[in-house]
């Protein structure tokens, strides 16, 4: 469970480029929820995710993960509870290391690393069986360098790495945006399967309103660093993109002018 209360963060405070990214953002994500997050460019989606992960520290506000205050903790001290998949398929894995070495890094996420061999024999069977679920034939290529894989394959492995050890929340930052449509739908399906199978709590940022409504159990829309609406359950069922737009206009008295939100 994640509780973010009144998060505020301004980039470049006191300079001409001052940019308030989060302006009192509050959100509670309960155990087992799969929340999709939408919003136009500059709405604060990525900043919010980075704040939860610890890549940026907020100016004020409080972040609780499983009732533990992580507001001031750097990224690496949160990883026992927070797992993450990046937008850039090259960012989530290490291309110079082999597939098994990447997985061995992930299996120790948030744990102490010692001087024992990293790629232990007892891991290999688990690596193979999890890679087999991807259906990409990667289970036979454990010692291949990650750099030999395509963007989609690497994103699939990133997803696997994020779910290899248990976490309180999985953060997905537009993780299908940089892939071609076919690969994107494959990775999205994989995401849904993994989240359903392991009953993960997840927060997925997306640029597509359609996707935001089709996937997950709850949808949150951000605008100018705040939550403008938050729908789940019955209210969300059968909702279409134009309903979302109406909702947004009602809430704000604004029209959505970001084409990419409407078209994608």
């Amino acid at each position: 469970m994640i509780t973010a209360t009144d998060l505020r963060l301004t980039f470049g405070e006191g300079t001409p480029l001052e940019n308030p990214a989060l302006r009192g953002m509050s959100l509670t994500v309960n155990q087992g929820e799969f929340v999709t997050v939408i919003g136009s460019n500059g709405a604060g989606k990525s900043t919010f995710l980075n704040a939860l992960a610890g890549e940026v520290l907020v100016d004020s506000g409080k972040i609780l993960v499983d009732n533990i205050n992580v507001t001031k903790l750097p990224t690496h001290k949160r990883t026992g509870r927070v797992a993450r998949v990046f937008q850039d398929p090259l960012a989530g894995t290490c291309e110079g290391l082999s597939i098994e070495e990447n997985l061995a890094l992930a299996i120790k996420r948030g744990k102490r690393r010692g001087l024992g061999t990293a790629v232990k024999k007892q891991y290999l069977e688990r690596f193979r069986s999890s890679l087999a679920t991807l259906g990409l034939g990667l289970e036979n290529r454990l010692t291949d360098k990650m750099g030999l894989l395509s963007g989609g394959q690497r994103q699939a492995v990133s997803l696997l790495m994020a779910s290899l050890t248990p976490s309180s929340i999985l953060l997905l930052d537009e993780h299908t945006a940089a892939l071609d449509p076919k690969t994107a739908s494959f990775v999205l399906e994989l995401t849904q399967n993994i989240i359903a199978e392991q009953k993960l709590t997840a927060l997925m940022v997306t640029h597509s309103m359609k996707q935001a409504l089709e996937v997950g159990t709850r949808t949150v829309m951000l605008h100018q660093g705040e939550v403008v609406f938050d729908i789940a359950g019955k209210d969300r069922e059968g909702l279409e993109v134009k309903d979302l737009l109406n909702l947004f206009e009602q809430q704000r008295g604004l029209t959505v002018d970001d084409d990419s939100l409407l078209l994608s």
Partner: protein, 300 residues
């Protein structure tokens, strides 16, 4: 051709610079941290070992102290970068400059001779080998052990975390790796190896000199790049092996260049030869590929 003495001499220095190349591999390649501290930590290792040996310490203990001194120097560079956010290259230059004064302080004068002192080499002279073969034997053992330990370390959980830190720091952090700590550890170990090299160099040459570190970084890089041109570093083991092979080839090439009377080169041309060799080592692997492509095209 080379005389026996010149040949073994080149091997001996080559093996020592192999340790330097290990250190530079760790900082430049594994951590992507251009570290010039080595120009200071090499004479630091020499100075610490020499002074402790003169003070009556066991030479192996003195060498161990030199390793620790090198590690401390590396840690200072890394901390300047990680904690004070000074650019890595600049941080290493600051430590290097500071070490010049520190080395003078340690020795109390610009150079210290180790004549008539017991060194790590002394017991090995009793084996009945030629005097110029003894350092080669001992240093081969030292570099073999170092290579094995480094290789095991790189394969360990911590070593893998270090490799991820250099290759993709954001991913490393997302996997819960304290990247700052990894940089401090890696640069410290790197300079510890260079300190060891300095300590062995002082003991085999019979003196420590405050200027002996000048250009160590270039020689180490030359060894690293040259080795990678000969042995493609597709695995950690091959990369480490390339360091040793590169360092030995480099010293042999220098020895040949200086010995070949026809070329008319003299000892003072050493740095010029180094610069030419490094340039060749960087350019040749690329040239080989483009030549092969030309050849293929003609055949087709």
């Amino acid at each position: 051709m080379l005389s026996n003495i010149a040949f073994y001499g080149a091997l001996e220095t080559g093996l020592i610079y192999g340790l330097v190349a290990f250190g530079i591999y760790l900082s430049f390649r594994v951590l992507d941290f251009p570290d010039l501290t080595v120009d200071g930590s090499f004479p630091l290792g020499a100075a610490v070992a020499a002074m402790l040996i003169i003070a009556g310490w066991n030479p192996w203990l003195a060498t161990g102290a030199a390793i620790l001194a090198g590690m401390a120097a590396g840690a200072v560079t890394a901390l300047l970068n990680v904690k004070l956010k000074i650019l890595n290259l600049l941080a290493s230059i600051l430590t290097m400059i500071a070490l010049y004064s520190i080395n003078l302080r340690i020795m109390g004068r610009p150079n210290v001779a180790l004549l008539m002192e017991d060194t790590v080499l002394t017991p090995w002279y009793k084996l009945g080998l030629e005097y110029y073969q003894v350092p080669v034997l001992l240093f081969t053992l030292v570099i073999g052990v170092s290579l094995f330990l480094l290789w095991r370390f790189m394969k360990s959980e911590t070593g893998l975390a270090m490799r991820a830190t250099g290759a993709n720091a954001r991913m490393a952090r997302a996997q819960g790796i304290a990247t700052g700590g990894m940089i401090v550890l890696g640069v410290a170990v790197s300079n510890g190896l260079v300190g060891l090299a300095g300590a062995l160099f002082a003991q085999s040459q019979g003196a420590a000199d405050v200027t002996m570190g000048v250009g160590v970084i270039v020689i180490g890089l030359a060894s690293l790049i040259g080795g990678e041109a000969v042995i493609t570093p597709t695995s950690v083991f091959r990369a480490l092996l390339a360091c040793v092979v590169g360092a030995i080839i480099y010293r042999l090439a220098i020895a040949f260049a200086l010995n070949a009377d026809a070329l008319g080169l003299k000892a003072q041309d050493l740095n010029l030869i180094t610069a030419v060799l490094v340039t060749l080592a960087i350019v040749l692997p690329g040239a080989r590929v483009s030549l092969m492509n030309k050849f293929k095209r003609r055949k087709a």
